[in-house]
Symmetry: C2
Subunit: 475 residues, 2 copies
């Protein structure tokens, strides 16, 4: 069922060999062999005997921001040098070399979680830890693309992801989007009309849920259509999904403010959009997941899900680069997840979704209240940290005169005015993918986030930005 | 004083640009600006309120392996979400995005430490955290070498470091060594006779203290001679120094077993061999340091020291790859170092050196007792985790007959016999650098470590290996 994609691997990935010492390491830990083969320091000399972490306790009725020391509901995670709880990663192991793929306890927890969420439709899938999605993405690029080759990207995308690829000498073929993400028919057209004298890009990079910067999310029909294109034209889909669990309740304009209901686990799970990996019958999707947006960025723990044969290439790469994520991170995160259990982790994700729904709702209500609708439009996001406001430069009284009919100039004027009035949002043009086709559209947008500030500050900021727009447009 | 080495940078390093969002981030944290620019989750939602770690307490009179819970001498490190101790990295910051170079508290501690140990002879040096020396080394390769270019390496070297370079398409020019590391006169000869039609390698990779695999250490005269060659022929020196603090007292053959004295801080510091960075008047050395061998490998915290202009390129690389080491690692390591202080950390290093001296001495005494001196030689290492035993295949009774005068075949026979008898040491030929010139020498060696096992097991292993040698050589 799963196909062989070794023809899509980069020269670098093809060249990777397991360490020559590997053949000796099969004797490591055997009773009848004294192993003097590896430069591993004795765990007795690691200066940490025990680590205790204090965290909130499921089911988080007081909200995920509630401090355990105040609520008295505390999950206490004790990790010792040697194993105490079955699910813990003892420090003697996590702080030692080894386990490039990740310590088995954490890998197993995440595999179990993956089964619940994505139900990957083939047997031979695997999971490999990384130090976060930026590194996961770099690993994908290095595993598939040779310098000079191209990749498909969303026409507006995370600029750091572009920079990762650009400095590796990779080129870009942008794919058109609307407020709901990549437009499959437009993508199909690009593929149909591809100049056969040029090699087709080997992969598509997509942030398909709560996209950065547009805040858009691909629905399941679009995902299916894009997946079919990948099969037809033989490319890999890299779904970069840090915001996947920040899917929210739908926004109802004008609905009275009310308490957001807490769904059951079943309702929550059924409400999640289907991922590419969940429809990946050929094994051509690579899913980049991460704790950065659901626990904390500084865990520096992400993971890649995909077919085993491809993941093996990532493990070989990690052996000669990052080795593995921090042992402290692995032990502490797994100690918490082990104590919460799969069910407690789902409780956390539900509580997190609630916080983001509150902030998204508040944001949209602020826009409704303050923004001049005659020049500004928005689509309430259903996932992620970002919202966008779309402005029409043609409605600016000095568009033809002062700004020479150039929407970029108006965009910049609004940015500057926003700064003057005390609110910073990022101009959408900063996220334009290289080689993006210019159109004669007069609209431009700004990316804002409701993630980084508390509600009150958010309200102040949005009021200021609306004032800047009004004053710039002479309203 | 410091020279500009931008002409030695790789195309990839030259192409790296700061993130376009950087220009916005200068407004982050300003009082009069509501910053809706970055997708940072609120620290309130990080599910860790406090982390407490239990470690041994300086000056470690009971040895570094002593458990704090038994000795009652405990350093308790409490890290909170928000700042309590001046030297601590609060979790709200370490678990957030940002600080690619490393959190300032830890960077400052390490800079202070670097001043004490290396006294870098120019002002414009800097320090950047990494996720360990393998990644630091990869970052060096990607910053200086284009695919197809060459580097100088020790003729026997860490095979994983070779593999890192090989899969990047880099070639190797091995430099001759003896029991004391690189032979400067031989290196000078290679440089003098370099075929001018080929570009000179841009860097030398050397594990100069307690070398892996040979256990050799370069003395200061050799370092100076090599440094002069680097200046004359314009290449970068990458000193990979994970074992630097595993420098030991000299081994005295036949001296009675006695308690190894504990040096004063001054004696200890004066006894350390001078590093390349300490003599680097031109700013052409990059020093790779790490906690892996002195605290624990799983911290996944290393650091690069070098001139600021070069380090800036590494920060740009990290922004689009690893981002930064784990925040847990940074907070926990710095909490410990902050409490121990610079002086307590030196106490730790002194105590560590003592443990390794004991193990080294024990190892050499085992060799003296068990090995057949007529076919085996060794040089007691003065640093690191590794020792080597050198054997002469010509002394094997069946060298010319059964083994066809091929030392590699005898090496393999001894390896197999060792396994049969229950001790694994690694054949030296496994560490041969690619392109190493074959000689008509009939000797070969095995690398062993005294790091990974307790003394008793080490004794059993060495006895078994000696037995294997004797039986293979018919002694």
């Amino acid at each position: 069922m799963v196909k062989d994609f070794s023809h899509l691997l980069s020269e670098e990935a093809k060249a990777r060999k397991p360490s020559p010492l590997k053949s000796a390491f099969k004797y490591y830990g055997k009773d009848d062999i004294v192993f003097l083969g590896g430069g591993l320091p004795l765990a007795d000399y690691f200066p940490w005997e025990k680590i205790v972490a204090y965290s909130p306790e499921p089911p988080f009725e007081d909200g995920i921001g509630a401090q355990p020391s105040i609520t008295g509901k505390t999950t206490i995670s004790e990790v010792h040098k040697h194993k105490v709880e079955e699910f813990d990663i003892p420090l003697a192991r996590s702080l030692q070399y080894g386990h490039t793929q990740g310590n088995p306890e954490l890998v197993d927890f995440l595999k179990e979680h993956t089964k619940t969420i994505h139900n990957v439709p083939y047997e031979e899938w695997d999971l490999c830890l990384t130090v976060g999605n930026t590194q996961s993405w770099e690993a994908c690029l290095r595993s598939f693309c040779n310098p000079g080759e191209s990749i498909f990207v969303e026409e507006y995308t995370f600029s750091s992801a572009i920079e990762t690829a650009r400095s590796l000498g990779i080129n870009f073929v942008p794919v058109k989007m609307d407020a709901f993400g990549i437009i499959p028919s437009s993508f199909a057209e690009v593929l149909e009309n591809w100049d056969k004298s040029k090699p087709l890009p080997k992969l598509l990079y997509t942030i398909c849920t709560g996209q950065n910067p547009t805040g858009s999310s691909l629905n399941v029909e679009r995902r299916k259509a894009i997946y079919d294109l990948a099969c037809k034209y033989d490319f890999i889909i890299v779904e970069d999904e840090p915001y996947y669990f920040l899917q929210m309740t739908e926004y109802k304009e004008g609905a009275p403010e009310e308490v957001i209901p807490t769904p059951t686990h079943e309702e929550f799970l059924n409400g999640l959009v289907k991922s590419f990996i969940s429809m990946d019958v050929e094994g051509r999707a690579l899913r980049l997941d991460s704790f950065s947006k659901v626990l904390a960025p500084g865990t520096r723990v992400g993971w890649i899900i995909g077919q085993s044969a491809l993941l093996e290439r990532f493990v070989r790469l990690h052996e000669v680069s990052i080795q593995a994520p921090s042992g402290f991170s692995q032990s502490i995160v797994q100690a918490l997840l082990g104590r919460w259990g799969q069910s407690g982790y789902i409780d956390w994700l539900i509580a997190l979704r609630k916080e983001y729904s509150i902030k998204r709702d508040f944001t949209i209500k602020c826009l409704e209240k303050n923004m001049p609708r005659e020049v500004v439009e928005w689509t309430p996001p259903i996932a992620g940290m970002f919202f966008t406001v779309v402005l029409d430069a043609a409605k600016h009284p000095e568009f033809a005169t002062k700004y020479n009919k150039d929407p970029y100039q108006v965009e910049n004027a609004v940015y500057e005015k926003g700064l003057e009035d005390g609110c910073l949002m990022i101009p959408g043009s900063w996220f334009e993918a290289p080689n993006r086709e210019k159109t004669d559209s007069t609209t431009f947008f700004f990316r804002g986030t409701y993630a980084a500030v508390p509600l009150e500050t958010l309200g102040v900021g949005l009021e200021r930005f609306a004032k800047a727009v009004r004053s710039e447009f002479g309203l």
